[in-house]
Symmetry: C2
Subunit: 124 residues, 2 copies
């Protein structure tokens, strides 16, 4: 089985772990810290996997707040995008485009999290 | 069912579609062009979904070649990472870390594609 999983770089891994827990109910499966920084974490959001680390510029891993944009968004497919977007905003994300029916029949909205990552939250 | 899917931003969407086909056998499921640019594409790699578009700076979507790093890597889980890494390099990717057995028991390597996206190619 072939899988594709996002691996996000953030400016503050510890704070991001807390935010993704509050915003999306993310649970920590693995966490490795080194020199006071988040070297690697594996999270699950209702069973879906997400990887996370602090910045490692020598490997080209930079954070959106450092570079002023993000080079990959995350598409989060959920049963109720209205509720998930509202929870993300309540946890500190910024609404970018409100949830509405898009051209392909999904309810779909966009938020930007406090670490600069763009999330498209939509029905499958 | 909750899903998480990477949505990559690239500097040249048409070239990236061709590269991901040659490197990973990606097939185009949907493609929308607008004003000569890739507005959105849905690809599948052996059934796993990947989204792709050109840069849209007004939405914060910038490419790794523009910002000099990537804010999210893609973890590609495959049966034979040695073969997949070799195919990616043959198609034009650069090996960053060779495939080897990592601490968690995966065979795992890293390549950087011609658009600056970092790929961790490993067994599941």
């Amino acid at each position: 089985m072939t899988t594709l999983t996002p691996y996000l770089t953030v400016s503050d891994g510890a704070a991001a772990l807390d935010f993704y827990r509050r915003a999306f109910g993310a649970e920590i499966v693995e966490r490795y810290d080194a020199d006071g920084r988040l070297a690697h974490a594996t999270l699950t959001i209702d069973g879906a996997i997400l990887f996370l680390s602090d910045e490692f510029p020598r490997f080209g891993a930079v954070s959106p707040t450092t570079v002023g944009g993000s080079t990959a968004a995350v598409v989060l497919g959920v049963a109720d995008p209205d509720a998930t977007c509202a929870a993300a905003v309540a946890a500190g994300a910024t609404e970018d485009r409100p949830v509405e029916l898009d051209g392909s029949g999904h309810r779909s909205g966009w938020v930007v999290d406090p670490f600069g990552h763009r999330w498209n939250i939509r029905t499958e």
